[in-house]
Amino acid sequence: MMHSRMAGVAGAMLLALFAVGPAAAQDKPPLTVGAIYVGSVNDYGYNRSMKDGLEEMKRAIPGLKLIEAENVPETAESERVMEGMIQQGAKLIFATSFGHQQFAFNLAKTHPDVYFEHAGGWMQAPNFGNFFGATQAAWYPMGVAAGKMTKSNTLGFVVGVPIGYALGNVNAFEMGALSVNPAAKTRVVVTGGWSDKAKEAAAANALIDQGADVVTMHVDSPATIIQAAESRNAYSIGFQSIEAKQLAPKYWITGLGFTWGPFMTDTAKSVMAGTFKPAMVRLGLGQGMMAVAPFGPAVPADVKTLVTAAADKVGHGFNPFTGPVTDNTGTVRIPAGETWGGDKMGNFDWYVEGVIGKAK
């Protein structure tokens, strides 16, 4: 959106200015790492998860210097911010938003001695790799939690932008719910933006009006939706950062979050050792990049056991998108004997049986 972008540009320029200030003098750090975020790291969401991962890396490697910039827009501005980090000695850069990809890639070409890791993209170069969580299957245990907790058999899912990956999340969620509650339906509302707070609140309320007693979401920051659900005594399941529990002291069930720390630490170590290898890394539950958040006070022990078991099952390779899978109009989309994974996760333009909503 224009407004946030303007504010973002101003913010990023300010931060870049401040970042240039105190340099040199101290001992040379073993490695300087730059990181850019598209939003604020206090969002209880995606940016928070990135910040947590980088902090974990910083703790794991003594002396490592971390240079960060928040609210970096997905424009050429990001290239200038990263360039500034390189001038300050950054040898490894994490470009953490999807739209930063091309700009980081441009820099990778002009700075062959600097290594780049981009979150969510596909581009590859000797000094440019990318990583992301394998989120879709990981939503299956969230569905198990929702399916067990619901009394109305109606689950609500707020989707920011209906890209294939987001629809895949909805699908795995509903499949998980169906696995423990054959009557569970998921209603979907699309707001049309990753961060339109007022619409997110209205969407959560609309879902609750239609009987949903568990609400979850795929937007940048879950804060508004979780609080809207809490205010109407509806359960919530978070996504992105595992720290959102405190937003809903009563009705929090659990959440799905990214745990980037181990990957970021390994990557930093590989750069220090000179063994960096570019790869397209996609890891999910049980593989170090995704985790199930702590449970809320309302969740009974048997539900916790079921959710943990489902998460283990996914961690050991269970894929919900194993045919036959039928969409909500009755058409078989994944035939028996076929399995969708990896790149296919971006291809969803349909909802599975049990989801109430239109995908396109």
Binding site: M1, M2, H3, S4, M6, A7, G8, A10, G11, S40, N42, D43, Y44, R48, N71, G156, P162, R187, V188, V189, V190, T191, G192, S195, D196, K197, A198, K199, E200, A201, A202, A203, N205, A206, L207, D209, Q210, G211, A212, S221, A223, T224, Q227, A228, S231, Q246, L247, I356, G357, K358, K360
Partner: protein, 304 residues
């Protein structure tokens, strides 16, 4: 159509219509005095950010509301100085004010991203607090309940007081107002301060009652919808009530229809409020000349 859908649409219209109404009332008061403020969006953001920040610091949403009104009035007084005293072009000054508001609100709000606040409490109409549809339809924060009285008060102020008569005269012809012994510029300052306070209130309702979070640019263009609503309302505060409900409802309607499982593409659904805006402007467009204040947008540079 099920009951839940109707109740949801009405409650949604009232919630999102409230901030639209306050913003529209503010703009009407300014425009009645001949001043177009295209910076409304920026004032909404300043109100939302300062209200949220104050609430986060003091734990009192009511202090937050007061701070938002004060900040909105102060920002609008800067605008008043630029256009009333310095005779700057209103459209250019308004757009500058909008960008100023976007930047300032981001600055105010930055330390409070992710802050947890207790927003304005919902006060149920007595006897309807037991849950279910009645509670959903009859339980709102105090700013919702004050919206209609504020519209009525604004109407009374404009059409039934000597001050309002003076303001309208200034909006029609500052020179005649001046000749009649009024002080056009003083009236315009007063009107813009009042308008700023109402716009700040509109922003506070969004951050303290609707979203309970601060995010850059969170008003999402609602300031511009309010400016369009002024035309829809024919510069009349009472018509603004209908307009705010209609437009608040349009936003909620499509989300409610999605939740209800309507067989329509979400991409088309998200266009509904904007299609409605276009439709209304087409249908009402021709009435504009008859009702707009004559001197709207023109600066009064005094009588030499």
């Amino acid at each position: 159509m099920n009951t839940a859908l109707v109740v949801g649409i009405l409650a949604g219209a009232i919630m999102s219509g409230t901030s639209l109404l306050y913003a529209t009332l503010g703009e009407i008061v300014g425009e009645r005095g001949g001043i177009v403020n295209l910076g409304l969006e920026g004032i909404l953001l300043i109100g939302a950010a300062s209200g949220f920040a104050t609430t986060a610091v003091t734990s009192s949403p009511y202090l937050g509301v007061a701070a938002a009104m004060g900040a909105g009035a102060a920002a609008n007084l800067i605008f008043a100085y630029v256009v009333v005293s310095r005779h700057a072009n209103q459209l250019a000054a308004g757009l500058s004010l909008m960008f100023f508001g976007i930047g300032l609100s981001a600055l105010i709000g930055r330390p409070f991203v992710g802050a947890l606040i207790t927003g304005l409490p919902h006060l149920a109409v007595p006897g309807f607090a037991s849950g279910g549809f009645a509670t959903r339809l009859l339980s709102y924060d105090v700013l919702v309940y004050l919206a209609l009285p504020t519209a009525a008060f604004t109407w009374w102020l404009i059409f039934r007081t000597r001050w309002g008569l003076g303001l309208r005269t200034v909006g029609e012809s500052p020179a005649i107002a001046f000749a009649a012994g009024l002080r056009p510029q003083t009236l315009q300052y007063q009107a813009l301060a009042f308008a700023g306070a109402l716009s700040g209130l509109a922003g506070a309702h969004m951050s303290l009652a609707v979203t309970l979070t601060w995010a850059d640019g969170m008003t999402g263009g609602r300031g511009f919808i309010a400016i369009a609503l002024v035309i829809f309302a024919k510069w009349n505060p009472l018509w603004a009530v209908a307009g705010a409900l209609l437009f608040g409802g349009a936003e909620g309607l499509q989300l409610q229809l999605q939740a209800a499982g309507a067989d329509v593409s979400p991409f088309i659904m998200n266009m509904v409020p904007y299609l409605l805006t276009l439709l209304v402007l087409i249908l009402w467009g021709w009435r504009r000349q008859a009702t707009a204040p004559m001197a709207l947008g023109r600066n009064f540079v005094g009588v030499e």
